[in-house]
Symmetry: C2
Subunit: 240 residues, 2 copies
């Protein structure tokens, strides 16, 4: 008959959750360290970590590599079918958006990319890597692929402005259709490092193919979102 029954991970979850819900720990607040929590609740650090991972799984908290655990801010609403700019979405919802171009280069389409963009293998493509954040926190990485023949001067452009606006205004392209794929993936080691997330962290994977009126794929992009940062909203109107 154990004198002191074990403190369970579920109990630790409850303890932490009540403090988050009560507002004692507001958005972006730093939680006590794992060791401090395990001392306070008379349990082991392993149990505390188990509890923290469960709260992380449903997006209530997140961690920043070796800096600590933080209360997750509200999710951003996002409609991937609208090809709309992240910047506008973020501003409309009262956030401070941030974009950084990580890489920009010309590549040749491999088998997979050629299929996705409906071009011949070896076709020259412009590849852009960007990361984007709100309120100082990086929330997703994106890899953009554009047909080099359609955007001959694009590599000269400043990469931080809204790409969709630029494509629309400067190149006069009109979007006709967007195909969106959403699933769950995990971050590669390199991606995890950029987002300051742990190795193998699960994320939202969103890929989009944008077609113009002639049916050409004018943009193909892959986004890797922190799973706790995003709420996807899609509205579909049925044809009459």
């Amino acid at each position: 008959m154990p004198i002191k029954p074990h403190v369970t991970a579920a109990q630790v979850c409850g303890f932490l959750e009540s403090r988050i819900k009560s507002g004692e720990w507001g958005a972006e607040a730093k939680l006590p360290s794992e060791r401090a929590i395990s001392d306070q609740l008379q349990t082991s650090r392993v149990t505390v970590r188990e509890a923290l991972k469960r709260l992380e799984a449903n997006g209530q908290i997140y961690r920043s590599n070796r800096r600590g655990w933080f209360v997750a801010p509200p999710r951003i609403d996002y409609d991937p079918s609208r090809s709309a700019h992240f910047t506008q979405y973020a501003l409309e919802q009262g956030y401070s958006p941030y974009t950084e171009c990580l890489m920009q280069r010309l590549i040749q389409a491999d088998d997979d990319l050629a299929g996705k963009m409906a071009v011949a293998e070896g076709t020259q493509l412009l590849e852009l890597h960007r990361c984007r954040g709100i309120n100082g926190r990086l929330v997703y990485l994106e890899e953009i692929f554009l047909r080099a023949d359609l955007w001959p001067d694009l590599i000269e452009q400043p990469p931080d402005q809204s790409l969709s606006t630029m494509l629309r205004n400067h190149y006069g392209q009109l979007f006709k259709q967007v195909d969106v794929d959403i699933s769950i993936a995990s971050l590669s080691a390199a991606q995890a490092e950029i987002l300051q997330a742990p190795a193998g962290c699960s994320c939202f994977y969103i890929s989009r193919r944008t077609l113009n009126q002639e049916g050409l794929v004018i943009e193909y992009d892959r986004e890797y979102w922190r799973h706790d940062a995003l709420n996807i909203k899609v509205t579909h109107q049925f044809a009459e």
Copy 2:
């Protein structure tokens, strides 16, 4: 200077992944037990579990409570904006769909539901809980809410047939618009038990509001999907 460097979780991931990708362990195959893997690779069970959880996070494997770990079958493609029946989707993709009605009752709309369905608080609603699977594996739970005044006889109907077909044919309703919300949540203890998933397991949360031509909310449902079972595909056509 350590004589035997530690076996890392990443190495265990590599070991398991190579066997899955090579086809040595096909879809639905049972992996060796955690203890057998840790013995074979000369590492601890904790490290093996860490590796298994990473593969679980990106949907390569899944676990069934206290039965073992299994190779995840291909994801099912699903377009939540089409209000289409799961059964049809599954059949088209060559799966054997399965549906079971777990619960069916009349309730009164609380504050939250009243808002979602655009009715007054206290309005009588029909609530249905179902679970659905493909090829013998449960993949999601759904909670459906219908206005009792619009479907007076529905509670008498056999619950296992396609609800959307039934609504369309039997009640002559035409769908006009669907609002879809997608995010990540975690399963409640009760939900986890039904899906044979571990406590606090992360899942896709999809909620849908279907409006008819008069703008009435004729159906509101919440779906909780195994995160590894689903690939969401949405196509959006821009207006001319």
